[in-house]
């Protein structure tokens, strides 16, 4: 986030006028996203009526998002997430130095793709990714290099890739039509190319000198030709099988340079560009004083010392050279401080600096470095103490903290919330808490996926909460079967009872059995509610009746009347349901059944409002007739 963001919602005159008009500023944080809604507000609401002027800003909401994920970054996030997950889901025994080196390269490939894609975007985005690329490459060099492997060539490669020579300067000289060597920048650029091992440009420039094309190649006066020869024959560590071979060749080569320097000294100032030639020789020889005085940046100095002066140095030797370059480091530059920290193997400091640059960088770098320390078979022997640092209370590892904070920024994005949850899952106990917090806030459109995720990760409480939310949503849209299904999954049996009660009441008032049967058909088997069980049996009674299975219907009706599960207010319905069965020709109610029906009728008639209903007279008559018939049949 920018340190200060100006919203431009203040009327002319600034803050004083805001206050004079009884205003202050309010902000409300979004629960999930990285945004805050800001608006002017009355300072004293009670006295607000005295201030009647209204400004446009007063009714405007300004929503400021401090972390936004542009579309161009989505692919990068997804690809690097795939690399991260693959690494973090391996067994410890499967992680070794080779794998970690490959992982570094895979990440770097994605970063470089991003650098290319952001070239035409805002300069700050491009710069950020260029910086990430540089820091990542440096980390890769330092932490995948063998502990005793010379580092010079790799540092030089890094330097030319990420801190490239200013091509404008080179071009300036190339554009000069004639006597380019007279350009005031000619020799500084040539020195720079030499220090940076950019011998192709250096050789081209040496060939511009009069001494080169006016003398024979083997002539002692043809110093440029000699320098070109040295450049073309410089021994490279990577070209030799063994250290001994390289040392032998390098010694010979350096002796030749020394010899040439002595010859040049003898020729003295008679040679045009004597001092310049000597400087080039000193650089090639690896004279540190010359390198330090000629380098334009401290990174150049370090790389050149590693390449020319101390070609057999390992990455651990570099920190001892910082006494020569400390005063050249720009302490206001996060980038330079990061590189310095990495070269010194002060990983804690490097990570602290990278936090200020980019969340992706610090999180993935800390993850990879932690594994390099644990599984890299001694790839790093210094700067390992940061993995033991945990914060005071929750004992969160630094790596978990950085990754979790990175994932928090992803959580509000519609395409990335699942990725965020998966990151949380790999961030220890702290990540687990974040996962539990965020999964319930996944937008309702993705609720089913969120539930699946909860089930997979054993987040029972969160799954229940999402089920409850879904259930209520279905309930409000009158989709009771779905509502009950989800409330059942949520363990909310009381709410199921409430819905059943509602359906029951609707049935009582309308007599329409269809919603009840629909509800019964879609009920999950584990739902146990008295009213529900009652309704289940009632539906069976109704079905039997419709299918003219009158004996079964009668049996079910008696069961309903005699069970404890019949709600009192429904008894009138039950007893009236008996009437058509009493009036059919076939005999379905036995003596005991008839007595039960009579008892039920008496209970119903106890209720004052029912005493005058004429239908009960018919029922009473039917019951008596059935009783007589039943007794006669018994006898």
């Amino acid at each position: 986030m920018a340190e200060v963001a100006f919203l431009g919602i203040c009327p002319n005159g600034g803050i004083d006028q805001l206050l004079a008009q009884n205003r202050t500023l309010r902000g409300t944080l979004s629960p999930v996203g990285c945004n805050v809604t800001v608006f002017p507000c009355a300072k004293n609401v009670v006295a607000h009526s005295k201030y009647k002027s209204l400004f446009d800003q007063d009714t405007t909401l300004s929503i400021y998002q401090w972390h936004d994920i542009p579309n161009v970054k989505l692919e990068f996030i997804k690809e690097t997430f795939a690399i991260f997950t693959k690494l973090n889901k391996l067994n410890e025994s499967e992680i070794d130095r080779e794998l970690l080196t490959r992982t570094f390269e895979q990440y770097r490939h994605q970063i470089n793709l991003m650098v290319n894609q952001t070239k035409n975007l805002s300069s700050s985005t491009f710069e950020t990714y260029s910086m990430i690329s540089s820091v990542w490459h440096m980390s890769e060099i330092l932490f995948t290099n063998g502990a005793n492997e010379p580092i010079g060539e790799k540092l030089m490669e890094w330097l030319n890739q990420h801190d490239a020579i200013d091509q404008n300067r080179v071009q300036l000289i190339a554009n000069k039509k004639s006597e380019r060597y007279t350009h005031p920048d000619f020799w500084p650029v040539l020195f720079n190319c030499t220090i940076r091992f950019d011998f192709a440009h250096a050789i081209t420039m040496l060939k511009e000198l009069p001494a080169y094309y006016t003398n024979e190649p083997n002539d002692d006066q043809n110093i440029p030709s000699v320098l070109i020869n040295f450049m073309e024959t410089i021994p490279r560590w990577s070209s030799f099988q063994t250290s001994a071979e390289y040392q032998s060749e390098n010694t010979v080569w350096r002796e030749r340079i020394q010899h040439q320097a002595q010859k040049l000294n003898q020729l003295g100032l008679d040679v045009e560009f004597f001092e310049e030639y000597l400087k080039v020789l000193c650089i090639l020889y690896g004279d540190e004083e010359t390198i330090l005085s000629t380098s334009e940046t401290w990174m150049e100095s370090i790389a050149a010392i590693a390449f020319f002066s101390r070609p057999e140095s390992s990455c651990y030797d570099i920190q001892g050279w910082f006494e020569f370059v400390e005063d050249k480091i720009n302490r206001d530059s996060n980038y330079e401080l990061m590189i310095e920290s990495l070269l010194k193997f002060d990983i804690t400091s490097a990570l602290s600096q990278s936090v200020k640059v980019d969340g992706w960088l610090v999180s993935h770098l800390s993850d990879l470095l932690e594994k390099v320390i644990r599984f890299g078979n001694g790839m790093i022997t210094m700067g390992t103490e940061w993995t033991e640092i945990t914060n005071s209370d929750q004992k969160i590892k630094m790596r978990d903290w950085f990754l979790a904070n990175y994932a928090i920024d992803l959580a509000s994005n519609e395409e990335l919330w699942m990725i965020a949850l998966d990151y949380f899952a790999l961030c220890g106990r702290y990540g687990r808490k974040l996962m539990e917090t965020y999964v319930v806030r996944v937008p309702i459109e993705h609720a089913e996926k969120a539930i699946e995720y909860c089930d997979r990760m054993g987040m029972n409480e969160q799954a229940k909460s999402i089920h409850s939310i879904l259930a209520h949503s279905y309930y409000k849209s009158n989709n009771y079967p779905e509502a009950i299904s989800h409330y059942s999954m949520a363990g909310e049996h009381k709410r199921i009872s409430i819905i059943v009660e509602k359906v029951f009441e609707e049935f009582r008032s309308t007599g329409d059995i269809a919603p009840v049967t629909q509800l019964m058909q879609s009920l999950p088997s584990n739902v146990a509610d008295d009213k529900l069980i009652f309704l289940l049996h009632y539906c069976e009674f109704f079905e039997n009746y419709q299918q003219k299975n009158f004996e079964a219907a009668a049996e079910k009706l008696i069961l309903l009347i005699t069970s404890n599960k019949s709600p009192d207010q429904f008894k009138i319905n039950l007893i009236l349901d008996a009437l058509p069965l009493l009036l059919i020709e076939s005999f379905v109610f036995k003596v005991e059944d008839t007595y039960e029906l009579m008892r039920c009728l008496e209970d119903v008639l106890e209720i004052e409002e029912h005493k005058d209903l004429k239908k009960f007279e018919l029922l009473r008559f039917a019951l008596l007739k059935n009783l007589a018939k039943a007794i006669a049949l018994n006898n």
Binding site: A5, L19, L29, L54, W66, S465
Partner: protein, 353 residues
């Protein structure tokens, strides 16, 4: 990468409060024009500029509406609002689309005083609404039916004893915040120059437990140089309780009229101090327990350098926002080693030319 979008709500007077729903994809705004408006986010996936469209707008009260707050979606789409008309109203979104207003479920009237703050409980505590009025009575209402929200009954009521500093004048400010974590039911209340934490005891009575104060209550203190100390006029204007996130301690933030934003840590300790004397209320007899948790001030910011009116935590309790009369909204972020740093400042004015 930052982005910024603004839209005119077309309220006819100042907006007094804005609240996001649980998912952050709906907004409720309330205003001095007596209206509430509901806004839905219409962003396409991955769109950098979420646009907001008006879903509903209606005249909700007969005076300025001070606050609006959303309930948990487990119980539906509903809000509560409080107003200078001395009522609190609970509204539910109607089933039919394109309705011109939300359904009024309940009106809670106060006799002489208006409600200054309202908040629904976290969902694991059921469906309750706490409200604190300008005369220092905290009431808790509960819905009798969590599926059908049309009936709410008063379940708890107690008086908050105001701790005042001398020069604060007659204005009394009350604010509240529920403990969002599972465990003991607790509520933090700003009352005067301190914030207090009330917890329910084993028999279900609310007891004052901890007091969050940086210094001596109620006194104005002149330093030796004659300058006012930070306790003067230090009315607590807002209180916010952070999600625990597995921490062994709780974090509560307060904003103060004397310009300070404070973060307190509450944690279990064996050496709790008892409060000296019981506090009696005319309405409900409540006593003070031994403080159950130890209170420690872990961060204090005065960068606003002016009255601070609002504090709010993000959902993970790692970012705190504060708003003040310096015309800025400030964000504070927890760092890895438990420190707090400024994350950024949003200023009302235009960028300097």
């Amino acid at each position: 990468m930052e982005s910024f979008v603004a839209f005119n709500t077309k309220h006819q007077d100042l907006i007094l409060d804005v609240a996001y729903n649980f998912y952050g994809n709906r907004l409720a705004t309330c205003s001095a024009d007596h209206k509430i408006k509901i806004w839905d986010s219409k962003s396409e996936p991955s769109s950098p500029d979420p646009s907001w469209s008006l879903s509903c707008s209606w005249k909700a009260h007969d005076a300025s509406i001070l606050k609006v707050t959303w309930g948990h979606p487990e119980f539906g789409q509903f809000i509560a609002s409080c107003s200078l008309d001395r009522t609190v109203k609970i509204w539910e979104e109607p089933n039919q689309k394109n309705s011109n207003q939300w359904t009024l479920l309940q009106v809670i009237s106060s006799d002489l005083f208006y409600v200054q703050d309202i908040q629904f409980t976290p969902s694991h505590l059921g469906l309750k609404l706490a409200l604190v009025s300008s005369h220092g009575i905290l009431r808790i209402y509960e819905s009798t039916n969590v599926v059908n929200l049309s009936k709410w009954i008063l379940v708890d009521e107690f008086e908050i004893f105001y701790t005042n500093s001398a020069s604060s004048g007659s204005q009394k400010i009350h604010c509240l915040a529920w403990n969002p974590d599972r465990g003991q039911e607790a509520i933090a209340v700003g009352c005067g120059s301190v914030a207090k934490v009330y917890r329910k005891d084993v028999v279900g009575k609310w007891k004052e437990c901890e007091v969050l104060s940086e210094g001596i209550d109620g006194a104005s203190m002149m330093g030796s140089s004659g300058s006012l100390s930070r306790n003067v006029g230090g009315l607590v204007t807002d209180v916010a309780w952070a999600n625990g996130m597995g921490r062994s301690y709780q974090l509560i933030a307060t904003s103060n009229k004397n310009g300070f934003v404070r973060i307190y840590k509450l944690f279990d300790s064996s050496d709790s101090k008892p409060i000296a004397q019981p506090i009696q209320s005319s309405k409900t007899k409540i006593g003070s327990l031994k403080r159950q948790k130890k209170v420690e001030l872990v961060a204090e910011f005065n960068e606003h350098n002016s009255e601070v009116w609002r504090v709010e935590w993000n959902v993970t309790g790692t970012i705190l926002s504060s708003c003040g009369d310096d015309g800025s909204v400030r964000l504070w972020k927890a760092s890895y080693l438990d420190g707090w740093k400024s994350m950024g400042v949003l200023k009302a004015e235009s960028p300097p030319s």
